[in-house]
């Protein structure tokens, strides 16, 4: 599986947790750190498990998530 990563905009995140439920690999969790709006922001707790499927980003109602993926060498060329 290709490796992936997400980046979460701390100030956009409202701590709704939909991304945590959407992630099939248990990558995400609440960080326990509040942003300036008082929301418990989500972070990658198990980054090594991320495959860049973007399910989290698709469900995020605040478009707070950007998703990255390694290009799979077998698919190129």
């Amino acid at each position: 599986m290709p490796k992936g990563a997400v980046r979460i905009d701390v100030e956009r995140c409202k701590g709704c947790g939909l991304c945590i439920s959407a992630c099939p690999h248990g990558v995400l969790a609440f960080s326990g750190t509040l942003n300036t709006s008082g929301y418990d922001v989500v972070r990658m707790e198990r980054p090594e498990a991320c495959v860049g499927c973007a399910f989290c980003a698709m469900t995020c109602p605040d478009i707070a998530v950007e998703v990255y993926r390694e290009k799979s060498p077998a698919k190129e060329g």
Binding site: K3, R7, C16, S21, P61, D62, I63, E66, V67, E70
Partner: protein, 252 residues
């Protein structure tokens, strides 16, 4: 936004037809997902420069802040009639109205029916979360029997307040509409289906194909008194039994 990881390509980012404004919606509210999906459709079709959005009265009253296109904020319930006026004045515009259950199915019921009946070449997004969010959680025409709201504190009683209206089914009886579908957002698969439906609804207009309506079963975690995840499950397990998902009309 934190720095991007090295050696990886970005595969998901904010649609370019949306502004950078932060949404004013509650945590977990599906309005934000729908807004992103609309932005994606506008991006994909390359129509931002001729799109005009119509914001209703309701939680999405600020919808004009989210898009990089011309927009109007209009009187409660009247978005379908305003869309008619815009489109008849300038058929080259891509006109979409974005309405909640009060705006579309209660105060705006006549305008919604007649824009559909005239087959206006517009795109209507109907956000059905079975409650009036902005004004504090009152009953909507789509509120479920037994559902507690601020005006049905003991649960909706059909003897007093009737039954939830399946508006899309009513409009599906009309001859003119080109595309009427009901979608949801409670998991990734449904989000993908909704994405395709919304894109189709915009593409239909761009191709002059006629009236397209996408009803989206959305959550209102705040007024349902549920967490966002529980609210998603509520749509999946309860709401879809009253409002079945799928295409009701597809003449495109």
């Amino acid at each position: 936004m934190p720095a991007s990881p090295t050696g990886m390509t970005k595969v998901f980012s904010r649609p370019s037809s949306l502004t950078d404004a932060r949404f004013t919606y509650c945590p977990g509210c599906h309005h934000g997902i729908i807004t992103r999906i609309i932005g994606d459709a506008i991006d994909k079709l390359g129509i931002v420069e001729r799109t005009v959005g119509i914001a209703p009265v309701g939680c999405s009253v600020f919808a004009y802040l989210w898009y990089r296109c011309d927009a109007l904020q209009v009187a409660h319930g009247r978005a379908s009639a305003v869309a008619t006026g815009l489109k008849r004045a300038n058929p080259d515009l891509i006109v979409f109205s974005y309405q909640g259950d009060g705006d579309f199915a209660s105060i705006g019921a006549a305008e919604s029916i007649h824009a559909a009946n005239r087959g206006e070449n517009i795109t209507v997004i109907f956000v059905n979360n079975q409650v009036y969010g902005m004004t504090g959680g009152e009953m909507a025409p789509t509120t479920l029997v037994g559902q507690k709201t601020s005006t049905t504190p003991d649960g909706r009683d059909p003897r007093v307040s009737g039954y939830p209206i399946r508006f899309s089914e009513m409009l599906a009886q009309l001859e003119a509409p080109t595309y009427i579908t009901r979608q949801a957002l409670y998991d990734t698969r449904r989000i993908n289906d909704t994405t395709r439906a919304v894109e189709k609804a915009f593409r239909n207009q761009a191709e002059g194909a006629g009236y397209s309506l996408v009803e989206i079963l959305a959550t209102c975690p705040t007024n349902w008194r549920m967490s966002p995840s529980k609210a998603n499950r509520h749509v999946e397990e309860v709401v879809t039994r009253v409002f079945p998902l799928g295409d009701l009309v597809d003449r495109g």
